[in-house]
Symmetry: C2
């Protein structure tokens, strides 16, 4: 595994790290044991409380909304959306307003020629299992301006002062547009040359190890997934490497002496392939331009107590049908956080959602069915998203006008399932918000006639658009779970 690539190119070092699952500092089993020990070692009690019993949160006026007394962190507000997209032309809903750009950051470092990532075992009140594997840093502006008067989160200083850091990834990426109003975070991966001081809740893992952990339900958190999705896996260095090592493409495919087979090989080839098998870059941009021109979205902030069809009870703000989500309050007692007790609101989801990509081969190259996704919190009308992203999936599937292809995922035959795991959305804002992340591969002869807001793209095309911030968090986080370098032989 000691090749010149490790020294010369960050892309190649990401590649090597993905191929590395043996970690001399911490084996897979040692990691799991440590992670379990963190879960039991830490006192972390989350209880739902009446909305009125939150101590630093209150309903403010003009407009009516739920805010922190400091004016910082986030607010729960009401919005009224109008659109000519989809079956519902107008609706009201609560939404999280947090108009500041936070940092989601991972520190990386090369030890003995292999790149490692400093990951954190972090408790969040909304996690179904309290503890999940998180980036080195998850910091709101409130965090680093110390609004809550706690300790500065470990390692945050490296992200604020770049003198000691080499920036490898630094992209502004959006959060869930169905739940957040125009929220974005700065997704960063930085390399630190100096010795990084150890902390109890942090461990160095290879990308290969993290990819393994992404096959486990609810282990790697949303913030880690979005940062990992920004890693520049397609780059000219790869193509050169590929050209140098591939003998008789596409029947043989070899990375660092290993032969890729099956779906991993298909993924890798789709990653490298930006040829216009289906659509050129210009055609995809034209498709997106046409939809942005055609679809209108008007989002107006309204008082939270004037949100039609939503009602407030002692314990929650809920939709009259019980669908969608509800706003609840929790009390948290924690032993390893910056402060040890707090209360806060969370958006509660009761049932599982589905986040899925349909894939299919065209002329032997795997393509992903991308959907133009319009959400009230989008900064610019639509974003590119996965084929399906739908909360409360089973209930939605029984309603008329449910999203196209939802049933395809709910009824998928096992032989089409290429990836399937339950993943949690951010536990600092969402209570038990879980989605089944799925990749299906349809047989090449499947006849599909997707509506106009769908388009087929290769993985390489998707990664290019991701870099320019065109893809939504559901798509990015699902793709982060894939491992195009999985060693199948």
């Amino acid at each position: 595994m000691d090749t010149p690539w490790q020294q010369t190119s960050k892309e190649a070092s990401f590649l090597c790290s993905t191929l590395t699952v043996e970690n001399p500092f911490q084996t897979h089993d040692e990691f799991l044991a440590w992670f379990q020990s963190r879960r039991t070692a830490t006192r972390f009690v989350v209880e739902q409380i009446p909305l009125a019993e939150m101590d630093q949160w209150t309903f403010a006026k003009n407009p009516h909304r739920l805010v922190h007394r400091s004016g910082k962190f986030f607010a729960i507000e009401g919005v009224r959306a109008h659109t000519n997209y989809g079956p519902v032309p107008e609706w009201d809903q609560p939404i999280i307003n947090q108009p500041e750009i936070g940092i989601l950051g991972i520190i990386t470092k090369v030890f003995n020629g292999t790149r490692y990532f400093l990951m954190q075992a972090k408790m969040e009140p909304g996690n179904v299992n309290a503890l999940q594997l998180s980036p080195t840093v998850q910091a709101t502006k409130s965090n680093y301006t110390q609004v809550h008067r706690g300790k500065l989160p470990p390692y945050l200083a490296y992200f604020l002062d770049h003198d000691k850091a080499r920036i490898l990834v630094d992209q502004l990426q959006s959060e869930q547009g169905a739940r957040f109003l125009r929220k974005r975070n700065r997704n960063m991966i930085i390399e630190i040359a100096e010795d990084v001081p150890p902390h109890d809740e942090f461990r160095w893992l290879t990308l290969g190890q993290i990819k393994q952990l992404l096959t486990v339900d609810n282990l790697v958190n949303m913030d880690a997934r979005t940062v990992l999705s920004c890693i520049p896996f397609t780059n000219i260095a790869w193509k050169h490497y590929y050209a140098a090592t591939s003998q008789d493409y596409p029947d043989h495919f070899d990375v660092f002496g290993r032969r890729l087979t099956g779906f991993a090989k298909d993924l890798f080839l789709s990653l490298l392939d930006r040829r216009p098998v289906r659509h050129t870059l210009d055609e995809i941009i034209s498709w997106f331009t046409r939809l942005k021109t055609r679809y209108e979205l008007e989002v107006r902030r309204i008082p939270l107590d004037k949100v039609r069809r939503w009602e407030q009870t002692e314990y929650e703000i809920r939709h009259e049908t019980g669908r969608h989500f509800s706003v609840i309050a929790v009390s948290v007692q924690a032993g390893n956080r910056e402060v040890t007790h707090w209360t806060q609101p969370l958006l509660k989801h009761t049932d599982y959602g589905v986040v899925g990509f349909l894939t299919k081969k065209f002329d032997g190259t795997l393509h992903f069915l991308v959907r133009a996704s319009l959400e009230p919190g989008n900064l610019d009308i639509i974003e590119m998203g996965p084929t399906v992203a739908c909360s409360n999936a089973e209930a939605r599937a029984k309603q008329p006008n449910h999203p196209p292809f939802l049933e395809t995922f709910l009824q998928a035959p096992p032989e089409q399932v290429r990836y399937s795991a339950i993943q949690s959305e951010e536990g600092g804002r969402f209570y038990h918000f879980q989605n089944r992340y799925m990749i299906l591969e349809l047989p090449p002869d499947t006849q599909l006639d997707p509506p106009e807001h769908f388009i087929w793209m290769t993985l390489g095309q998707i990664i290019d658009f991701t870099k320019y911030s065109y893809f939504n968090i559901e798509a990015r986080n699902l793709l982060a779970c894939l491992n195009p370098l999985e060693d199948r032989e």
Copy 2:
């Protein structure tokens, strides 16, 4: 000139058309004679009138603003901007609000193997010379929904119904963020296979001819420039062609049997060069992410009669210092428009502005100094822009806190000037708004230490970001004036 490229690739056909200045349908001199004849043949009288004498325009309330009685077209509104970018943290100003996406479109067609563009001689009330060369179509939604009850503009149907059209360019691009509130247009180039009916005000020109006309002051209008700036001049086909024809790069350079020299060669090499001589794509995205995170922009709509430091007289809404611009009203009598008499407001500029790029070679490759530009009408805080974009340039240069590098352009020695011409901004919204468009090339040993909101990029990198809608209209329209294929020998 008859090569397989003409048939196989749209990029190559754009290249061929750029190299073609001999037009058998219409020579350069014939075009100029025809254009002059259109100017004299058409009655077009523009008179400034009191604001109150506009017949379809009125001041509406809640908030106070200037609107068309139909509610369509555009409105002049007030905004209050807060930012931590630049020397002025807060200001009020009038701004044009036109919250709909129009179409700026050019029809193209291949005759005898050469691609031609259907350009229009179009009168606009704000043009200094009434008539300018315009795209085939400039249509607001009001145009094609026929709010003004005139004739449907010629050729618009081809852009609304794509059955007969092959789309070559289709990008959503922004307009001036200092004057328009989040205004964008769909920039399109479409190819029509069937015979296109002729109209008196339209002529077929090659890209080479249009590039020649872009060296003339105030001849090619803003809308034509922005559409032309979207042409995909960098593409893999070019690289292949370049590799096949370039014998001993970079000393010799040859396109279709012609040798490029001087600045044209430098431009062409910079266009093809996306190697990270100065900054990689990831580094540029990191730079932009950092600035978007650091700089805040809050723009609030306020009543037009509450815009501080602006005053309304009988004939205009003006800044108390007389600087910036003023809102005026004009009466128009025209013989070749959809309607023959109308009144409307325009934004009047009294002095010339400067729109300029500083360029410099690094390791032999020409780089452009790109500025992160924050304007109140930007959709997303900042856009990438030219080194300098400044209205009323001479007056601004005498004030403290004027934009960096403005004096470099005003005092440029002739030997550094690679392009210089006066170009007009859109005459349907602006009255006599003229900028001197300039490209300067600084000697390679020039020491510059640009502030953090500047970055050096190759032309190829700029074109890539343009495709993803990162560049503002000032930068795009200046770059449209350049001809990297100019035949210098």
